[in-house]
Structures are given as C-alpha cells and as structure tokens.
Amino acid sequence: MRIVVMLLLLLSAGVSRAELTIEITQGVDNPTAIAVVPFGWRGGALAEDLAAIISQDLRRSGQFSPLANKDMLAFPHQQTDVYYRDWRILGTEFLLLGNLDFVDERYQLTFELYDVLLQKKVLRQTVDGDEAQLRDLAHFVSDKVYELITGIRGAFSTQMIYVEALGGNKLYRLMLADADGAREKILLESQQPLMSPSWSPDGKSVAYVSFETGRPAIFRQQIATAERQQLTNFRGLNGAPVWSPDGNQLALVLSKDGNPEIYTLDLSSGVFNRVTKHFDIDTEPNWTIDGKGIVFTSDRGGKPQIYQVTLASGRVERLTFEGDYNARARISPDGKSLVMVHRYNGVYHIAAQDMASGDIRVLTETQLDESPSIAPNGAMLIYATKYQGKGILAAVSLDAGVKFRLPSKSGDVREPSWSPYY
C-alpha cells in the first residue's frame, strides 16, 4: 500500500512537472489587413501614385485587404510617428511606409514594413529607378511585401503578352503589358490573324503563329529588338508553339503528314522530331516541368482529353477522366497541378486538376473561358473570357479564392501568356 501510494505520488509529480501543450489544428484564412500609407515626397506632382499601385497589386493577389487612405488616422513617414495602437484599432496587421527622394536624376524609394501586432519593423529596403521606372519601383515593393508575408515569391513585376483583335477582326496586334495590364506596348501589327503567343523561358523572345504568309506559320521574335524569324512553313496546320523549360526546343503541332501531330523543333539545329503517332487529332502541347515529357490534348479516346507522352520512351498516358471535354493543359510551376479548359454542364470553365490525386477544382464561373496561363509563382492564372460580348482577360487564384478582370481594352483580347521570371 505504501509503495503504491509512493509510486502514485511520484507519477503525479511527473505529470505536474510536464508543461501543458495545446494543439491548434484549425484556422481561418482571411486576407491580410495592410495599410500602405501614401509615401513621403517633397517634389511636385508625380506621374504615378506609388502607394496606390502597391495597394492595387496586393488587393489583386487576393491575399491582402489594403486599408483605404480615408480610413487612416495618420500618415506617418517614419518609425517615430508610428503609433501601433492606432493601427491595431483599425485592424491593420502590417503597415508599409515609404519615402521617395530625387537623387542624382533618379528616384530613390526607401520603404519599411512594420508588423503591427508584433510591434516591430520586419523589412527595410531602398530601391531606385528613373522616371519611366516608377511603376517598376512600386511593383518591386509589392513583390517584397508579398513574399515576406505570404512566403511565396511575388509576380507583380512580371509581364504578359496577348493578342488583340480590332475592328471586327480587321486588325490584329501582339501586345505586351505589365501583369496589372498597364503600360501596353505593341509588339506586332498584322492584317492577318495572330495566334498562340508563348514566352521563352529567358523572357527575351516570343513564339507565335502568324497567317501573314497566307497560311499559318510559326515565328520567333526578340521582344527588345523586334527582330523576327520564321521557323516553320509546312503545308497545313503549323500551330501552338511552346518553349521547352531549357529554351532549346519548341513543341508544336504540324499536320504535314495528314492529321495534326505533336512535334519538337530543336532551335539550334532546326531538326523536327515527331512525338505522337495517331490517326486522331493531337494538339495543344505543353512541356512537363522537367522537360522530359509533353502533355497534349487528343481526341483519340473519342472526346478531347489530356494525355502525357514521355519523350524518351514515347509512352502515352491519359491524365484526365472527369467530364467529356478537357483541353489546353498547362502545368503549374511546382508541377503539382494541371490547369485546363474543362467543360462542365455544357459550359467551358477553367479547372485545375491535382496531378497526384486526380481531384478537379473548377476555378471560374464565367462562360467560354479559354487559354489559361499560369503566373510564374503558381499563385494566379490568367485566362481569356467574354464579358459583355467582348473578349477580355481575367485572372483567378489557383485556389479560386480571388477573381478579377483586367482593365478593358479597346478590342477583343485573347490568348494571354504570362511571362516567366527573368
């Protein structure tokens, strides 16, 4: 009896000495509340409102809810003017301050990010640029803030290329713009259709299909110099060029042998290699992340579905089984998701399929959604859709949590291609 009691005592002592651990297994994922205070600037009127651009960048990502300027209690420009309690009352979790100076004919932006809840400075950096780079300065800050808070690299400084059709398909333009749709630039203008633009992995070139020779042909163009080179001139279809991850090859579709098949083109040697051999249509190729395989759309099973071919063995494997129409696949940068056009209840939507589990998430609610292109950080994708009878670009996050339309253009906008990091 005594021994038992002693043992119990010892045990209880052991229990009381061990520190309590409480496990948290659930959470709520709300956008981060951030306040981007208008930056300090002693000069005259600026061409761009940097703080506003950053706020818009962050809001568009869906991960942030920036505080409106009119709700701010103060506009501090330095740490000594920051009263954490005030910002906390407003529900702000992070606070971004900045000061813009004009030094040696360049704009110099120093920005500081404060964690309001932990009451400390978590980032301070200085970046500079010329007059034309004011938006770049803002996007740079957005990238840094986004990466620090979300743990994902920002893609606000990236760009996109898309096709714009004007005057009822009388004029076609290949356009370059910032990821937020600003600073558009014409890369090419043609009376004949332009299609399927695709960025090279180094971000320096674009491959596309042009009908300017009277039939479809694939071109490569240097973005900076506008220098062009025709890559294919076969009878029939020449289409859907995409760059291999190393930038040395293009995957494309040719119908020179009767029906559309997937080929690869070695850019240095100019040698074509036929990848698929099937009497049904094989089209819309896209490289796997490791560059060892190509996913493509084929109706060899009766309906359009996504398949993957391993280049070394030629072995073909079907990837999609859900629904009667899956096409135009793109693989996310982490290789874990397949984004595609998916017909659901007779309507074309953008959907993401988990590569491992095969689970499909429909990401969009609009109709006639097509040509998805994934941001280089894998967090968002851009696609073409119809809005008020006009072709426009829209974006959706890969978890479908946020959607937005890019500013409307004058013409019909289609086939966006999001740039890589470069």
């Binding site: 520190e19 409480i22 979300t150």
Partner: protein, 278 residues
C-alpha cells in the same frame, strides 16, 4: 416520430387483409399507442441540455471515468477505516483504565503489606515472600504497560501513515480532477486561437510550429516566442500574430489561482494545421 411509426405499422396490415376487418390492425395500433404512451410517461425525454460550453468529447469521456474513481471508493474506504480506528481507540482506552485500576489495587496491596509488616514481625518471612510476589507482580504489570505503550505508539504511527496516505491519494485525485478542468480550458484556448489564426497561402499540411506563452492571471499574454519554427517564416509569423491578435484569454480570468499556476502561467502552443487544402 410516433405518427410515422403508426402509419408504417398500419398500412401493410390494411393492405394485406382488406376483407378480414380491422381487428388485428386496431389491436396492433392499440398496443403501439400503449407502448408509446408508456414510453412518454416513463420520462422519454431528451437529455437535459448541456450547460457546459462546447468541449471536446475526449474530455468528457475522461471526466466520466474520473468522477466515480475520485469520489466513491475513496469515501467508503475512509469510512471503513475510521470505524476501525475508533474501535481501536476504545480498546486502547479500556486497556489504559484497566492498567490504572491494577496500579491502584497494587498501591493498596503495598499499603496493607507495610501495615502487616509493622504488626506482625513473625509474619515477616511470609510478608517478604508476599512482597516478592507483589514485586514480581509489579514487574509483570510494568512489562505489560510497556508492551501496551509500545503497541499504542505503533498504532499511532500506523494511524499517521494511513492519514498521510489518504491525504496523498486525495491530492492525487484532486490533481487529476484539476487536469480534467484544465482540459476544458485547453479546448477553449485552442478554439480562441484558431479563430484568429490566418495562415499564409504558402502554409501546407505537415508544417508545425511551437510557441511558448507566458500569461498573467487575468489571462493576458505577456510574452510569446517561437520555440520551434516550421522553416517557413510567414507561417511562424501567422501563428505569433494569432496570439497577439487575441491578446488575452478571457476564459482564464475566472480560473482558480492554483489551477492557473499549475498549467497556464506558462504553456506551449503547437500549431499543426489539419484543415488546409494542400
């Protein structure tokens, strides 16, 4: 509930034997009615509403298994032992009285002996003999007394030991009960933190992070530090911010101080998301 039972039971019987009359169906329905009325009369009611706030089921399970263990056996054991002790005490008292009586008797005997010695010299030898016998008797009594004293001391020691053991057991049971109470606070804390925890999009299942918290009895958090990070700075910060956003555990303010000191002055929060899609 009762309505549907009746309609189900009566419809097949009327369908099967339409010509036989309603004797059997009526009988069945009567029996069912009686059964239902009986059930209702016997207190067929919903269990009383739980006054406790939402607490995880495992906590309740532990509570159920704990209560009988903590109250009943201990109480009965104590009672049994107490009766025992009282009897022993009475026995002891009785022996003591006996001893005193014997001593008094002995003193009287001694007095008589001395009187006799003075009176009867020739009886000295007999008297000496008698005295010797008396002395022997005294020695015997003394020995007896010593034995009894030792026994009493032993008994006292045993009693003390037993009381100690009981106290220890009580303390242990109390501690276990404390733990059950603490568990219910744990559930509230976990829920409160969860409601303020906004994970970054880079958070993935399998990421875990541990925070060390220090509180004051009002429930206010006075210090938070990451004791084991996840490797993802944004994830760790989100956990830290969840605590800061909450700032104070309201539910701890009305907690017994001993319980607070024991479990909640300092504790660890383990963030281990199970509800993430990726």
């Amino acid at each position: 509930m009762s309505l549907s039972a009746i309609s189900v039971s009566s419809s097949p019987s009327s369908g099967v034997s339409p010509g036989e009359g309603y004797g059997l169906p009526i009988a069945i329905s009567l029996i069912l009615h009686v059964l239902i009325i009986a059930a209702v009369a016997w207190g067929w009611e919903s269990p009383p509403a739980d006054t406790h706030k939402v607490t995880p089921s495992y906590v309740e399970a532990k509570l159920v298994s704990m209560t009988p263990k903590s109250s009943k056996p201990a109480a009965t054991k104590k009672k049994v032992r107490k009766i025992d002790l009282a009897a022993k005490k009475r026995e002891q008292q009785r022996l003591k009285e006996q001893r005193l009586k014997k001593q008094r008797k002995l003193q009287q005997a001694n007095a008589a002996a001395t009187r006799k010695a003075k009176k009867l010299a020739q009886e000295r030898a007999r008297m000496a003999e008698e005295q010797l016998a008396a002395e022997r008797e005294q020695q015997r009594l003394e020995k007896e007394r010593l034995v009894q004293q030792r026994e009493a001391e032993n008994e006292k020691q045993r009693q003390q030991d037993f009381a100690d053991a009981l106290a220890a057991e009580d303390e242990l049971l109390l501690a276990e009960q404390d733990e059950v109470t603490a568990q219910s606070y744990v559930a509230q804390i976990a829920q409160a933190i969860g409601q303020h925890w906004s994970r970054p999009p880079s958070a993935r299942r399998g990421m875990t992070c541990e925070l060390q918290l220090q509180l004051i009895p009002t429930g206010e958090v006075v210090s938070v530090s990451v004791s084991k990070g996840s490797g993802n700075g944004a994830f760790d910060r989100s956990a830290e911010q969840a605590v800061k956003k909450l700032g104070r555990f309201e539910s701890l303010a009305d907690m017994p101080p001993a319980l607070f000191e024991r479990y909640f002055r300092q504790f660890t929060l383990l963030f281990d998301p199970q509800d993430l899609r990726l």
